[in-house]
């Protein structure tokens, strides 16, 4: 959240800064131009007055005679200046000496220093501006003869104040515009960057273990794309975590069941060992205890063997190879027939003629485990049929009650009635895993008292593909 806020503020501040800079430049240019125009107007007006004044002054002065004294010049000048009702002030100087000055300024010094030349009706003037005590004056001076200088001083404060008024307005309008633009930018960015905040909150939630969390963003822009790929990532993370958790749960169950299974033989063995080492026993008791020790050790050994088998098929990544039914049939018969004869179970194996894809050893393990279960269930008939890729193994034993059928594939699960202390409840787990390795599942159809039928689907091998290959190898 803090990250989004910073980015938002940065962008807003950058926008406002650019805007303020642009407005400031505009303001400076506009006020500069305006000041120039107003000054030019003031100079033109003042110069026009100066032209009129100098023309009249010269006219009157020539009428008196050009050698007239300063006193006369002063008198003439005052009478002219007083006649004109323009509000301007006038200055008359001779040889740097002020003969008349009603302006309160010393225009000569100003005009020397910072003045410009203005030509009006072939007559030269010097024009300049002066600011004194907050008032602005425009001064235009003209030389009269060789040593006299006439200046007109005009108060242009009102005009100059127009410029500062303009500047103030520019600043006010610019500030308002910048503030408004900043506000709008902030609002806009807040709305536009909302998915970013959602992303941040969602990734924090996912990091905290809420793997089901997703970002809601229906937009088509870059942020929308980021949100989409974020969701894809979250989904695959969730899938992985689920898989890992399921595997770990399964492993835990297996370990739990394993420790349960080991408890009995270990307790019994340690008890008999204690009796043999610590207790006074007669020969018959000693023989009994030794026999129990041996049978319980065997039990542990069988458990170990079954677990090893299970681990083998759990870790296996088998390659499915074409398997002729005759080969599998031979392997099954050689293993099952002697046992079935001894145990009085009728054995029927029909595997057809279709080549399947599978592993002979694993499929044999599957069938022999089901055979063991059938024998424990008191079956008199055991049947293995392979037809159109469906392997069906059925018996006529005591069957499996419906209510426990979904549990029988779990490791170490043993039906209550079959608790014969002979097996460990790993056989069907093994069979189910073997079916999985063949890309299928082990399905059971059974009812209490009516036998059990297990089916799994095997992949058929396409004979037409290998037939030519076999032929060509013959030639």
């Amino acid at each position: 959240m803090k990250k989004a806020l910073t980015l938002r503020l940065k962008l807003t501040m950058a926008t406002v800064a650019v805007l303020v800079l642009a407005l400031a430049v505009c303001c400076v240019l506009i006020t500069g131009a305006t000041r120039r125009i107003l000054k030019n107007v003031a100079i033109a007006d003042t110069a026009a007055e100066a032209l009129r004044l100098t023309a009249q002054f010269r006219e009157n002065f020539e009428a008196v005679g050009s050698s007239a004294s300063d006193a006369i010049a002063r008198y003439l000048f005052i009478s002219l200046a007083v006649q004109t009702p323009t509000g301007s002030s006038y200055v008359l100087e001779a040889d740097g000496q002020g003969l008349f000055n009603n302006s309160g300024l010393s225009p000569a010094a100003l005009l020397d220093r910072k003045s410009e030349a203005v030509t009006l009706e072939q007559q030269e003037f010097r024009a300049g501006f002066q600011e004194t005590a907050g008032r602005h004056y425009c001064v235009v001076g003209a030389a009269m003869g060789s040593d006299r200088l006439v200046s007109v001083v005009r108060d242009v404060t009102a005009q100059m104040e127009q410029v500062s008024l303009l500047r103030r307005r520019c600043i006010a309008v610019g500030t308002a515009a910048a503030v408004a633009a900043g506000g709008l930018m902030l609002l806009f960015l807040t709305m536009e960057l909302r998915p970013l905040r959602d992303l941040q909150q969602s990734s924090a939630a996912i990091a905290g273990g809420d793997y089901g969390r997703r970002v809601q963003c229906g937009r088509q822009d870059e942020l929308g794309l980021v949100a989409q790929s974020f969701n894809t990532m979250a989904q695959s993370v969730q899938a992985h975590i689920d898989a890992v958790e399921a595997a770990s749960r399964e492993q835990n169950l297996l370990l739990h069941a394993l420790s349960h299974e080991m408890r009995t033989p270990v307790t019994a063995i340690s008890g008999y060992a204690y009796a043999l080492t610590h207790l006074r026993m007669n020969e018959a008791q000693r023989v009994d205890a030794t026999a129990f020790l041996e049978s319980e050790s065997r039990r542990l050994e069988r458990l170990y063997t079954k677990l090893t088998e299970l681990l083998t098929v759990t870790d296996a990544q088998i390659g499915l190879t074409p398997l002729r039914p005759e080969a599998l049939q031979g392997q099954l018969l050689s293993l099952l027939l002697p046992a079935a004869k001894k145990q009085g179970i009728a054995l029927e194996i029909q595997l057809g003629s279709n080549t399947i894809l599978g592993d002979a050893d694993l499929l044999t393990m599957l069938v022999t485990n089901l055979y063991d279960n059938a024998r424990k269930a008191g079956a008199t008939h055991f049947r293995v049929v392979l037809e159109n890729g469906t392997l069906t193994v059925s018996d006529d034993g005591c069957g499996i009650p419906k209510e426990i059928q979904d549990k029988i594939m779990q490791p170490f699960y043993q039906g209550d009635s079959s608790r014969s202390h002979e097996g460990f409840g790993l056989g069907l787990t093994l069979c189910s895993r073997i079916a999985q390795l063949h890309g299928s599942a082990l399905r059971v159809r059974s009812e209490a008292g009516k036998g059990a039928t297990f089916t799994t689907l095997l992949q058929l091998h396409d004979d037409s593909q290998t037939a030519p290959a076999v032929q060509s190898s013959h030639h």
Binding site: H260, T267, G271, F292, E296
Partner: protein, 217 residues
């Protein structure tokens, strides 16, 4: 003889307990599920102590607690490791103790004796051949004649008698009789055993690599 009721559905453990406890001089009754225990109680059966497996088919260990209490039979549960819930339930439900499988026979024996002692079922008078022992009066007679045993000799004899037919290690005897802080070596035990053999004439047998065992029938 003190009678122990064993309720355990695993035959291997049940038979092992019967054999061991029988050899240690207890009378045992084996039951393989809860229903058998209920039937036994209903038929007027009794016991001084019951060892009950928690997980049993049909009627489980917890369901046996009330009926056994009604008959005044203390219960020690045999439970699975780490089954904390079961432990709590067992103890708060009125079981005297519990022991986690797999367990050592010696540990079970100690716990059983503690429960029996609490219930006043500990044996105080023993008669072995011509030797009579009164644990409360701390007297020993041989063929009616008082034997003059030192306190340590008496404690050692009582321990061997209580664990008759069970081999005890020298260190175990030293700890039980002289206490864990005793600094003398296990030679002390050998000397006292020799004295006891001479005074009582009881068959206290040396068990190689373990220690001593009082063997009586």
């Amino acid at each position: 003889m003190r009678k122990i009721l064993i309720a355990e559905d695993e035959p291997a453990i049940n038979k092992m307990l019967c054999m061991n406890l029988g050899l240690m001089g207890y009378d045992t009754t084996a039951k393989f599920d809860g229903q058998q225990v209920l039937d036994y109680l209903a038929g007027g059966g009794s016991a001084d102590l019951a060892l009950v497996d928690v997980m049993m088919p049909r009627v489980d260990g917890f369901q046996l607690l009330e009926p056994l209490k009604e008959h005044g039979i203390p219960v020690i549960f045999l439970t699975a490791r780490g089954d904390l819930e079961a432990k709590l339930r067992g103890l708060t439900g009125g079981a005297e103790d519990y022991i986690v499988k797999p367990f050592e026979m010696m540990e079970l024996l100690v716990r059983m004796e503690k429960v029996l002692e609490r219930r006043g079922k500990a044996q105080t008078r023993f008669l072995l051949g011509g030797v009579a022992i009164d644990a409360e009066g701390r007297t020993v007679t041989r063929d009616g004649i008082d034997l003059n045993l030192t306190p340590m000799e008496f404690d050692l004899l009582l321990l061997l008698v209580r664990k008759k037919n069970v081999a005890m290690s020298r260190e175990g005897l030293l700890n039980e009789v002289w206490g864990i802080r005793y600094e003398g070596g296990t030679r002390t035990v050998d000397v006292h055993i020799a004295q006891l053999r001479k005074k009582t004439g009881l068959p206290i047998v040396s068990v190689p690599k373990i220690g001593y065992r009082l063997e009586v029938d």
